[in-house]
Amino acid sequence: MMEWNVDTNEKEMGMATAVSNNKLLEVTDLGVTFKTDEGLVRAVDGISFTAHKGKTLGIVGESGSGKSVTAQSIMRLLPNSAMIDEDSSIAFYRDSGPIEITSLDNRSQKMRELRGGDIAMIFQEPMSSFSPVYTIGNQIMEAILQHRNVSKQEAREIAIDMLDKVGIANPAVRVDQYPFELSGGMRQRAMIAVALSTRPSLLIADEPTTALDVTIQAQILELMRGLKDEFDMSIIFITHDLGVIAQVAQEIVVMYLGKAMERGTAKDVLGNPQHPYTVSLLGAIPKLGTLGGRLTPVGGDIPSPLQRPSGCPFHTRCKQKIEGVCDVDPPGITRVSDTHTVYCYLYE
């Protein structure tokens, strides 16, 4: 359906990882556990990654892989039943200095400044991300007034300007309309306008195109790519769709059951996949020009998070499982290259 359209920035990327002052967000050993009636659920199990300034980081995984929980941890939007591990670290590098997000109070002034100010977020369901009883303009201006020192009139002008920037026609009219008067694609554009209206340095997009149909999906991706450069921001793009990731991301984390199975630049992961899980995910995507070939789905189902498999979490579905090894102890992280790591016994 779509060609690999890997951004050509990966060379810079490789150098960027070496230079620490290019880091914007650094997640180290993030672990999140939910308390439920049935017991503890380990949703994220010690993952690490870095988002760099001006780049897009893609987090890819099936549902239940913990990718959304990771995003919510960064925004500190987790429900009360969730606990972040004591030794987890989420460092956000502001110009004025780094901030450790995990040590901030959920409701503190500082956290609220970060949330929506430095880091903005858009969600999967453009239909329900807006409250139905307030106008689009009201909800954009709310964010602007919260984070920027402007008057109401100025906020309104910024809102109209933002709606224009995200490609909504007649922004001066649309600003006074209610969400139900906008189509799904327009609402997602409006959501992006809300997110960018405060000029954040990081945008977290949690499956922003999943609920949209394919042509609109492509438009939104194009829009986000353009806006990223215009606003000089970074994006963490979360999706289950490797095809989408290939279009937008320079660096990729592949998640499975709360673990990062493989990490690297887009070229590393898509062009030279190492982990059997990544390989099988890529096998499940239709490719242009190979019409005759069959798609190979990833066999089996994701195990219940209540009964996490021992050892490597993927061993129950892995075709290259080593008996007595993979199902006993978790593997270590192996470096494939300077930018490329994999979590698998095959490479140890």
């Binding site: 925004m75 939007l77 100010g117 807006f130 409250s131 919260q146 209610y178 008067e181």
Partner: protein, 330 residues
């Protein structure tokens, strides 16, 4: 929007037309007819023997010999065109005279009950939803159960008992003795407000319990909506966020069930009024049913239902202001 209001307005009259037929049927239900009761009232104990032909004369005089639909139309016509509800024979005057000031007192009780209900139920329901599974939340759940299980008239009896036994004064009635027949004055009004407190609390009891649960349920749903998370992700302070998004929507079901609340209050009013000795419509309704004074009963039933239907209309209008999806259509 205007079309919506007009539609609802006429819908109200269609409903009332059918209600008036139901009420007329109820008025016609008791055995014997108006003539029997009229004659019995007038001549019992006087030694006069009433013959069947005397009754026929009375029927002809009162127009009771006409078919039911004609009597219905003359009854409803009198109400609509002359605002005349007929005769209250037990009181030997017109129904209008009997209802008189009782209607105002009924409305006073109704509105003080509604005000107490909403002033308590909305904030408490919101609090319970925000602090789910807290001790206060569980306490409120128990209160809600009691709200249904303890009928209002029993609560009224208990309050009466407590007040007589421990406070040495009765909480019954709507006026203190010195104001009973006094002309309206500020002092009399204050006295009325004092007396309204007890019936209003008694009547608000179950309505409050019910509405707390409604508000709590809606609020709990709304808090978990993505739009709230989205607003939180914009960095909006928690308190402002709660009031602007979920709380704003948690009020909708309260507004939409306003007519239902009035219905519940009117349903419980007669018995509470009887226990507390309140001279308003509900108490009169029981009395007129017992006396088979059906014109009075019919008038009250019609009035109470009309108030409910009208409140339904008001709540529809209010809801359309609260919900832009209704406001912008039609």
């Amino acid at each position: 929007m205007i079309r919506f209001v007009i539609e609802r307005f006429f819908g109200m009259f269609v409903t009332m037309f059918f209600v008036s037929i139901m009420v007329f049927i109820i008025m016609e239900l008791p055995p014997g007819d108006y003539a029997d009761r009229y004659a019995f009232r007038k001549f019992s104990g006087t030694g006069v023997t009433v013959t069947e032909s005397d009754l026929d004369n009375i029927r002809a005089e009162l127009g009771l010999d006409r078919p039911a639909y004609q009597r219905y139309f003359s009854w409803i016509g009198g109400i609509l065109f002359r605002f005349d509800f007929g005769d209250a024979f037990a009181y030997e005057t017109s129904v209008n005279n009997v209802l008189g000031q009782r209607l105002g007192l009924t409305l006073a009780i109704l509105f003080s009950t509604l005000i107490i209900t909403y002033l308590v139920a909305i904030p408490v329901g919101i609090y319970a939803a925000v602090h789910r599974h807290s001790a206060a939340d569980y306490g409120l759940t128990i209160f809600s159960y009691l709200g249904l299980a303890l009928p209002n008239f029993l609560l009224a009896l208990i309050l009466l008992y407590i007040s007589v036994k421990y406070l040495g004064s009765s909480v019954g009635g709507l006026f203190s003795a010195e104001y009973q027949d006094a002309p309206w004055s500020i002092a009399k009004f204050v006295d009325l407000l004092k007396h309204l407190m007890v019936p209003a609390i008694v009547l608000a009891w179950s309505a409050t319990a019910f509405q707390i649960q409604t508000v709590r349920a809606t609020m709990s749903d709304e808090i978990n909506k993505l739009s709230v998370t989205a607003a939180r992700a914009r960095g909006i302070p928690e308190r402002r966020l709660l009031f602007k998004y979920p709380a704003r929507l948690a009020i909708n079901p309260v507004v939409s069930t306003m007519g239902f609340d009035v219905n519940r209050i009117f349903s419980e009013l007669p018995i509470v009024a009887l226990v507390l000795g309140l001279a308003e419509l509900g108490e009169l309704l029981i009395q007129s049913y017992l006396d088979l004074d059906m014109f009075v009963a019919g008038a009250i039933l019609l009035l109470l239902t009309f108030i409910i239907v009208f409140m339904n209309f008001l709540s529809d209008i209010a809801l359309s202001f609260l919900d832009p999806r209704i406001k912008l259509k039609g």
